[in-house]
Symmetry: D3
Subunit: 140 residues, 6 copies
Amino acid sequence: MIPDALHIELGRRYHFAASHRLHSVKLTEEENRRIYGKCNNAYGHGHNYTVEVRLSGAVDPAIGMIANLADLDAFVNEQVIEPFDHHSLQDEVSTFREIVPTTENLCMEIFQRLKAFPHAKLESVRVVETSNNSFEYAGD
Amino acid sequence: MIPDALHIELGRRYHFAASHRLHSVKLTEEENRRIYGKCNNAYGHGHNYTVEVRLSGAVDPAIGMIANLADLDAFVNEQVIEPFDHHSLQDEVSTFREIVPTTENLCMEIFQRLKAFPHAKLESVRVVETSNNSFEYAGD
Amino acid sequence: MIPDALHIELGRRYHFAASHRLHSVKLTEEENRRIYGKCNNAYGHGHNYTVEVRLSGAVDPAIGMIANLADLDAFVNEQVIEPFDHHSLQDEVSTFREIVPTTENLCMEIFQRLKAFPHAKLESVRVVETSNNSFEYAGD
Amino acid sequence: MIPDALHIELGRRYHFAASHRLHSVKLTEEENRRIYGKCNNAYGHGHNYTVEVRLSGAVDPAIGMIANLADLDAFVNEQVIEPFDHHSLQDEVSTFREIVPTTENLCMEIFQRLKAFPHAKLESVRVVETSNNSFEYAGD
Amino acid sequence: MIPDALHIELGRRYHFAASHRLHSVKLTEEENRRIYGKCNNAYGHGHNYTVEVRLSGAVDPAIGMIANLADLDAFVNEQVIEPFDHHSLQDEVSTFREIVPTTENLCMEIFQRLKAFPHAKLESVRVVETSNNSFEYAGD
Amino acid sequence: MIPDALHIELGRRYHFAASHRLHSVKLTEEENRRIYGKCNNAYGHGHNYTVEVRLSGAVDPAIGMIANLADLDAFVNEQVIEPFDHHSLQDEVSTFREIVPTTENLCMEIFQRLKAFPHAKLESVRVVETSNNSFEYAGD
């Protein structure tokens, strides 16, 4: 027998492809090259990014769900996929004109954009940059 | 040097294939169609479900393990794989005659069935429904 | 230097979730149970199916592509995903009212439905039923 | 008992991250937008590319191998990974200044660069652009 | 409409874990070290091997299958999984007392052991040693 | 807008191949066989192990990173990959001469070796032994 209205977590994955270049205006040319290595190449490079969103909520006993995935998909598409997918992060996303588009910063930016989702609580955002590399942010 | 008897977590994956149809007796026909969309199709559909079980325990220093995997496998097979694999959730699992077999409810039902495992503490159950979609429940 | 107009193969994956029951009208009840085992359960079960389509063609030198993926996606969606996804194969796809919806037959049915794609030659269709199980058909 | 010197195929995967923009000088601005869609965005985007190389050869009975993987790795790194990884295909690889860096053309360019490997016969090159999309070229 | 009795290919994956050491009696100590590198370490190392078996056959129209997977599983378990899984290849499998247990030789040995399967034609055996490395043998 | 210096987690995967045999000097021969089953085979077996390291830290606003991955890779290679990769755990790693090289103990040993990383806080170590089996340790 399943108790009513339990707290449960939903994990959902989204995908986008983007280019970025790691170059900080707060560092000298030489520091940029030393710290970022080949990620500092002038013409940039790119990745297939995977975004794993985790949300929590109570399960509505009549419906058996914590949130409608169609609502979540529409929100993530508008906030993240449309502005980031097939774009250059530092050239076309305003946040990354000022700060370096490292995956750490990308992860926090996506968290800021998704935390207003009205139908469940955003628990964390994980951004997978390559099969061996990921970052996770759970707010402060 | 490894200290004795530390708390550690074991994660183990199990797989089953089942069919389900999302249809709540607490909703009208029109609400069922609107909320569940194609998941409300009258003849049902199905998935390859992956169940990721996490258990914690102290490591027995003589043996170096927190639980015997053969014991865990036998318990999960009896409680979950045998009754769910190659079955229809709403037609053949009694819990889902009364409540909707959403993956949220499936995840909580599996947690209830596994929490009595005698040799380690059940920490959480995650059910992966598709490569982009999962639910995790850690009890209340 | 890349030569013009070479023959190349495109592989593209599609996904659908469906239920099926293996039961042949050409076999007795006892034969059905013995041959299909738990796949013969009366209420059916289901899978997340992956379809890997391979097509070949010459690369148009002006465009650098053998086929427009948007055209291919529209064709596969109309012929396969819409009629199969979130449906019961034997109850809702007319071919499988007469023949058993084994993955072998499913693979051949998908090949028949896709071989008329006008912009490239269909080479093969592979259907992945579980992570350990797949079938591939390349026509006759 | 294993017979001597049999023909066998070796498959080996390499990974690189690069940016590209699909824009053909043989097409008008409007054709570029219509044919390439969001892949034509002015600032480019990027991918994690996987390259699957297949080579064949006889197995040297004394050594039991068809080629030394260290030799193959050195060759692929020099010919493909160094010039492509963390670079912009159309800005930094000379071939793609003249022809569009579609994955079809990328796949053929990699084949041309690898076919001179001296210790085994190159059978095919497959480039995986996203988890659902790949191209394979086996020469002409 | 699906035509009768078509040729189709079945792919099925099996898994085993084994240890091996690359050391050829036909080579000097120095050659063994130079050619095999760390794979020549005296105490051996190990892998999770995946074996992908491909078989072809006609589809029996009454049953819709080319072979019963239970028959295939029993045959592969007896011929390959039981003698190789959780064993040392060079110490416990007689073939590898005489020849080096490279993955090339392992792949050919598995092909020899499986080609007598009575219910379908063995087309090829692929052995995946690591996520980046595999060998495939299709007989001579 | 991204706030300065937030706590974020970095996850990074490393891979090594090793052999092990489960045999405890604190148990009788019969107990070793009963408890460890085929893992107690005298000649050992092996695995492709994946190590998932999680570290946390503040993001340096000038650089946008919590730690330089080159520093982390050098540390993990020296502490774990070099001594474990292509080696026999119980024969060549001193810790496992005294204690059983179960994956639980391996996971804790790796945590002990990595917790001194100077540039970020080690949160947890997860060791994946097979695709269905993993252990995670977060210290005490």
